[in-house]
Symmetry: C2
Subunit: 367 residues, 2 copies
């Protein structure tokens, strides 16, 4: 580039750069103004004797939705959600950072879910087991728990479902994450692969693909996808199903990427705390119900909901662990338990069901 062209370029750029500097200055001012407002919310609550944290899931969901709806671009909506979650996270942390318990280790999908929802100013508290995640919040060591509850392909996470039955915690939010699986192997020829290692849930998520592409290979379920990758790295003639992280750790080539059966393979996480959330305008309510085991019992059980015009977005049954009922039903419905129609239907349910536990109302996940 000639000196003249270089000069022209620098002149043209300096105008835009001055604009950027001005915008950055305004952003800086506004971010701090917002932080002062958040502090003021805390002060007002304290003056009025309202204890507890200023985190309000329904308000956060409303703010994010309005910003999504009014976003003029060019920044994509997901960036906007990310920024404002981080802004709210930092504002909250000025009082006290939220402690978030989740199934460790760091670097897993659960950590991604926790950070996606609570932002980087939250204090991450990885736990060794799902039971410990619940216990940390029940005991007050953490403010909120983030636990996986269902995968779009493989279904419910049993341990979480069981713990929901007995926990005093309430659901106050949900997070939905995309999950990708890969076939990892040092072999390049499919016909040489005689065994495929993976976690049972990952094998299930890639069931159809394995039937089609590796029908003769033995499927062996191991403790984790990382362990599967290690085995595949050590043993010729084998492959593993695992994510990016395991591929890198064991230097295993990704023979095929994104082999999950469902193109929208997602995992849904629940956020649990001492209280559920207020109404945000677009909410879900989660219930556990039970009925004596006679023909038509489920239909009868659900009648108050259908009569009231309430939509169910999920119904899952699990064998009961005590002798009183044969099955418990996990039901998610659209709407908040404070809405009159929902409230009336829930009251009728409570009268007719042998057992009803309202796990909580919370905003539908915002992206």
């Amino acid at each position: 580039m000639s000196d003249q062209t270089q000069n022209d370029l620098q002149k043209a750029l300096s105008g835009v750069r001055a604009d950027i500097d001005r915008i950055d200055g305004e952003l800086l001012k506004l971010l701090n103004e917002r932080a002062r407002c958040a502090q003021k919310v805390g002060e007002i609550k304290a003056e009025h004797g309202e204890a507890g944290h200023i985190y309000r899931p329904e308000r956060e969901a409303q703010v994010l939705r309005r910003l999504q709806d009014t976003n003029p671009g060019p920044l994509p909506g997901e960036n906007i959600t990310f920024f404002f979650r981080e802004v709210m996270s930092a504002c909250l942390a000025l009082e006290e950072p939220l402690g978030i318990a989740f199934l460790g280790p760091l670097g897993t999908f659960s950590e991604s879910a926790a950070t996606k929802h609570f932002g980087h100013a939250a204090r991450l508290l990885p736990q060794g087991a799902i039971d410990d995640v619940f216990r940390e919040v029940e005991s007050g060591h953490a403010h909120y728990a983030v636990v996986p509850v269902e995968n779009s392909t493989e279904g419910a996470v049993g341990r979480t479902m069981d713990l929901l039955l007995s926990t005093p915690l309430k659901i106050c939010g949900e997070v939905v994450l995309r999950i990708h699986q890969n076939l990892l192997s040092n072999e390049t020829d499919f016909s040489k692969i005689t065994k495929v290692y993976s976690h049972a849930q990952s094998l299930a998520q890639c069931h159809e693909w394995l039937n089609r592409m590796l029908p003769k290979a033995q499927r062996i379920s191991v403790g984790s996808n990382a362990q599967a990758a290690q085995k595949a790295a050590d043993e010729p003639g084998t492959a593993a199903i695992a994510g990016e992280a395991a591929a890198a750790r064991y230097s295993l080539p990704k023979l095929v990427e994104n082999i999950e059966d469902e193109p929208n393979n997602t995992t849904r996480f629940l956020v649990l705390g001492k209280h559920d959330a207020g109404a945000s305008g677009r909410d879900k309510t989660s219930l556990i119900m039970s009925a004596p085991n006679r023909t038509g019992a489920l239909h009868e059980l659900l009648q108050p909901l259908s009569l009231a015009g309430v939509s169910m977005c999920r119904l899952e049954s699990r064998p009961a662990r005590n002798a009183l009922w044969e099955y418990v039903f996990y039901v998610d419905i659209e709407g908040h338990r404070d809405e009159p129609a929902i409230k009336a239907a829930l009251d009728k349910l409570a009268a007719s069901a042998a057992y009803l536990k309202i796990l909580g109302s919370y905003p539908v996940a915002v992206y």
Copy 2:
């Protein structure tokens, strides 16, 4: 709380919430305005026939420093740096997300360093070995590499130092991260711990602490801290030195936290790309030099620097791998290679040193 008090509270809060909503609306507008400016920078460069990416490390460092210096609070400076890195990351990604190669797996300190520097809109490309990290950028598969180069306690990362000698890549930035180590064990009684497993570098980082607290325990170096934790979990009478992630993964209690000898145990990472950075006003320049092995050679070698009043911030020697010289010296100096005083000193160095390679000039890390 009485209904009256509740009403008063809601009234007091609604004013502040209206302020927050107004601020959020302005933030949304400004963020998108900034993104349009960034797009314009790309267009102007393209019109003037300037190829390549619009990422400019020196400009980014200047912007961040100015924002730090003018930050009125109450948001802490580190939050401000975090937001604006993310804003710049998202603006850049509107054209093409930067691909960042680093030593995997995900969930390691190297990932934290990559994200801290390039923001969440960058595309993370974890690699199995430091050699692969260099190769990915040399081959054009990734835009930038992030590699560990030295730990404040244990010293240089040998493989990175060796690769710097031969790579055509330039250093265009640095990242500094705090690192914590913990003693993990199922034992609660120190006298029962007869072996301590860890990676050699982590053992070195906790050398003094081990001498003082576990003088009789055998120190056994293994491939990674995760592997050490696994061994400690399986074998009674042993402990591991490792980070949070490993403690959670193997459900090993943290017997003692933060046992690193240096209270400021940090790891420094280099950012490498096809070009180094322009002058930002607060820069470093990294060099590799060599001299014939005779008495006083190093002193003579460094004379042009001291005569020119140039400050060295790091000097490290390594045995040379070829027969021409006995040692190579890695030198970091304060200042940019385009500053007249530095330029003159480097010219003199080039004339007197048997070998001189300028690895690049880049902004001092911003927090």
